[in-house]
């Protein structure tokens, strides 16, 4: 299926304002990986008023804990992890100018509202397609918390990484819209 937007990181307000739930995007440039343990550490630093190990304003965070890179490859499998676990941390990062999050699964009301307020988007990659997603990763290096292993923060260089817009700056939600079309029973 066709890609509607080619995005190059870092992203501006204008970049994300043009995106609508359901649009297909291809992301190129630098994205940072962070999942549960890394988010907890970032929040602790923010709470203590300390500097963060990665830039946040204009950046993209990919919720992923890749498998180890076999010899001759830059990364192992690298598909998205479930995003709701990062919901408690996301509004604080959005306030600091985070422009996009890549993951899979539903976000909380608070996160969706924070995306509208601070102009940011949530993108879904295909969960469980780790081998396919890794094709878009052309460079990877650990930039913080190496001791966390798969949960370390990595700087990934990506080339046309595919994703779909789930939540846009208007508060639309692709999961709700998509499921509504095919639901034959009462909602959850």
């Amino acid at each position: 299926m066709d890609v509607e937007h080619h995005l190059t990181t870092p992203l501006s307000d204008k970049d994300v304002e043009s995106l609508r739930a359901g649009d297909r995007v291809a992301i190129s440039g630098i994205v940072y990986t962070a999942r549960d343990a890394a988010h907890r550490r970032l929040m602790e630093l923010m709470g203590a008023g300390k500097e963060l190990p990665i830039p946040i304003a204009g950046q993209v965070i990919y919720y992923v804990g890749p498998s180890p890179a076999p010899p001759g490859r830059v990364i192992g499998a690298a598909g998205p992890t479930t995003s709701y676990r990062m919901d408690p941390y996301a509004p604080g990062l959005l306030e600091r100018g985070l422009k996009a999050m890549i993951g899979k699964g539903k976000r909380s009301r608070e996160v969706i509202e924070a995306m509208v307020r601070y102009k940011a988007v949530y993108l879904a990659a295909i969960g469980g397609a780790g081998a396919l997603m890794a094709k878009a990763v052309i460079g990877a290096r650990v930039v913080a918390y190496e001791e966390l292993g798969p949960e370390a923060i990595r700087e990934l260089k990506v080339d046309k990484m595919p994703a779909v817009v789930v939540n846009d700056v208007l508060g639309n939600d692709l999961y709700e819209e998509g499921q509504e079309k095919y639901r034959l029973t009462e909602g959850p």
Binding site: P68, A77, V164, K181
Partner: protein
Amino acid sequence: MREIRAESIVNAVSDAAIRANLELGRDVMEALERAVGLEESEVGRDILKKLLENARIAREERIPICQDTGVAVLFVELGREARVIGDLYQALEEGVRKGYEQGFLRKSVCDPFTRKNTGDNTPVIVHLSLVPGDRLRIWMVPKGGGSENMSRLFMLPPSAGWAGVKEKVVQTVAEAGPNPCPPTIIGVGIGGDFEQSAILAKKSLLRPLGSPNPDPRLVPMEEELLTDVNRTGVGPQGLGGRVTSLAVHILMMPCHIASLPLAVNIQCHASRHVEIVL
């Protein structure tokens, strides 16, 4: 007494851990291919084709299907006429340690509170039973966190009956939505007690997709539940569609007169299980 050396168990488990994570089973590939034909959503069909492509890349390029190579769950059946020379539990653990290291699989096990990674994907989860015969049969099942987190257990009142069971299964799938990486396989354990229902639910996932339930009573029940969960509209990746689940598997056993235990173990589309016989 037939003797089985611990060393051969280590090597077999290590090999199974790697194969399970790199090679999606033929049964799952075929179920995904069937799903492409059933799915009405264009986005859904596109996702299903990408999942098939992903599995082909993983197998050919020798990288995991999914980065979440799971907690290692091992269902083990030891024949009463077989004797393990050495320590069976240690051999299973050593096999997982070796496979996860040599196969470049992700180590995904940590302390519940410090969240410090144990570094070698142990401890493993072992369900051991003694059976007739002189063989050692092991199912290596790497279980991912995303689908496990969406699994639920209900201690229903007996009055809830089949209608109550159906309601809870559908509710679990609908609430999970996109989180467990649909299209999923739903493992349902009915009866037993609190922990037995959960073990039944997980064990039901070992049955190859597309093969009928050996208990004829459960065949129409599985069909009815599959129809119902696919009416939720969740669809592939939760983006809407007809194929929310590829199959529903049920295992059932008698329970306490006061109880109707129900466990719903959700399995993502990367349903990985390798069977080895020593």
